[in-house]
């Protein structure tokens, strides 16, 4: 069908996969063992659109986050980055809560029919981020250095170390750099 889509110029965006997110709720322990402590923060990045239904979803999200904050103690914060993408930034020292809330937010966005606007979610560790690509349902490491450079060595090492526990993106050209992560 991909061939036909290209032939007729139909642009389809892939549906997000969110179940693989949970792989991180155990894999973070191995990260700790390797010396990369989770910083207790994660973020969901999505592109806001011009639609009244989108604002509805945003207020629903706020409600939901207030509710889950009282249960798990996850603190959340909305922020727009330099590329006009919106971030829901979560802070929680309990990493499993972080993963569960990230999953919950992703699910809510999908339920509101804005699934194609989900770009990625990001989990911060010491010196490195793990980025979850919704379209692929895979993670990849992103270790930014100064001057828009990446610590490739560290990223490769993490791939080999984490491969058995996390679904790591196999195609290296899909390890997209993501500059301007606001946390």
């Amino acid at each position: 069908m991909k061939v036909l889509d290209a032939l007729f110029g139909r642009t389809k965006l892939r549906k997000p996969k969110i179940e693989a997110l949970f792989a991180l709720s155990t894999a973070y322990l191995s990260m700790e063992v390797l010396g990369f402590k989770p910083s207790g923060r994660s973020g969901i990045c999505f592109k806001p659109v011009e639609s009244s239904r989108f604002s509805e979803m945003q207020s629903d999200l706020r409600e939901l986050l207030k509710l889950s904050a009282s249960e798990t103690g996850t603190v959340c914060q909305f922020q727009t980055d330099e590329y006009n993408y919106e971030w829901v930034i979560l802070s929680d020292d309990d990493f499993e809560d972080l993963v569960t809330t990230t999953h919950l937010i992703s699910e809510t966005v999908i339920e509101h029919d804005f699934e194609e606007r989900l770009l990625c979610s990001v989990f911060a560790f010491d010196r490195v981020y793990f980025i979850y690509n919704y379209k692929e349902g895979t993670f990849y490491p992103f270790a930014p250095l100064t001057g828009r450079k990446r610590d490739g060595d560290l990223e490769f090492r993490l791939r080999s170390a984490m491969e058995s526990e996390l679904p790591i993106e196999k195609e290296m050209e899909k390890w997209y750099p993501l500059w301007g992560i606001p946390f």
Binding site: D5, A6, L7, F8, G9, R10, T11, K12, L13, R14, K15, K47, P48, V49, E50, S51, S52, R53, E82, Y83, N84, Y85, D113, E116, R117, L119, C120, N133, K135, E136, G147, R148, K149, E171, E173, K174, Y176, P177, L178, W179, G180
Partner: protein
């Protein structure tokens, strides 16, 4: 669960019809050439090699002819940042990014496959557009990459190119015996007719691919209005650009987001739909996005 506004079945049907007509014209052309006693296979072989080279080296040729320069992450952080995010959204490998020194605000994409793609913008485009508009234009170009427009248009123009060469050079083969002269005349006339009809069809196809890329930009960014304002800015700026730059740029029209025209060419011969039609189509998408 794809959304209705993301599809335009009319557009797909028109594309199919155009491609089908091209196919018919080409089949008839092959028939006439073989009837006139021409070895179709060697002609196809040579044209095939030529077009394949053109397709295979499209990125290098276009970069060379436009003077585009590949830029790194640190040289153009904003441009790279926008493209990275659009590529995640569109599920494309990140293409190379190039900048062209030019006073004409424009952008193009080329390359034989998504992995070999190059997306280029002019310096003037970077100066004139705001971030949202730039993003919309880049999403339009990435849709060309995703739809493999370089390949589609190369294949579509295969026999048209053969016909063009026959029109130009067949006349030199004349002067043999009379029977051969007659068949050369037949082949020559057929070539002219095929060349004209196929050129029109290819241009129609190219216009449909533009509509598809506009739609793709709306799907990827979720903001059809950003592309509208970018198109208006680009076309407004284009009326005021100096002419010697235009002459250089003319050959590149089919790849640009907005073509450069010195006179008002007939719409039929244009590689791009008119601005009014593009904006109308985008506004329709915008309306349907809100309604769904």
């Amino acid at each position: 669960m794809t959304k209705k506004w993301q599809h335009d079945y009319g557009l797909a049907a028109r594309m199919f019809l155009t491609m089908f007509l091209l196919f018919v014209v080409y089949i008839v052309f092959i028939g006439i050439l073989s009837y006139a006693g021409f070895g179709v296979v060697p002609i196809m072989f040579f044209a095939g090699i030529m077009l394949f080279a053109q397709y295979y080296y499209s990125d290098k040729m276009v970069l060379y002819s436009t003077g585009a320069r590949i830029v790194s992450e640190s040289e153009a952080p904003q441009l790279h940042g926008i493209i990275s995010r659009l590529c995640i959204e569109a599920d494309l490998p990140k293409p190379r990014v190039a900048i062209v020194e030019s006073s004409i605000p424009n952008a193009f994409a080329t390359g034989r496959s998504p992995k070999k793609a190059v997306v280029a913008v002019t310096t003037s485009l970077l100066q004139r557009l705001n971030q949202n508009e730039l993003e919309a234009v880049l999403a339009h170009e990435l849709t060309h990459v995703k739809n493999r427009d370089v390949m589609v248009l190369t294949i579509a123009s295969f026999f048209s190119t053969i016909a063009f060469f026959l029109v130009r050079y067949l006349i030199f083969f004349g002067g043999g015996n009379r029977r051969e002269g007659g068949s050369i005349m037949l082949a020559w006339l057929a070539s002219i007719v095929v060349w004209i009809i196929s050129s029109l069809l290819i241009r129609a196809l190219s216009r449909y691919r533009e509509f598809a890329a506009d739609r793709g930009s709306a799907v990827i960014t979720g903001h059809p209005s950003h592309l509208v304002s970018a198109l208006l800015k680009i076309s407004g700026a284009m009326e005021r650009v100096p002419t010697d730059d235009l002459r250089k740029a003319e050959g590149m029209n089919a790849f640009y987001i907005i073509p450069i025209s010195r006179s008002s060419i007939m719409a039929l011969f244009s590689t791009h739909p008119s601005l009014e039609k593009r904006i109308a189509a985008l506004e329709k998408i915008s309306g349907r996005m809100e309604m769904r």
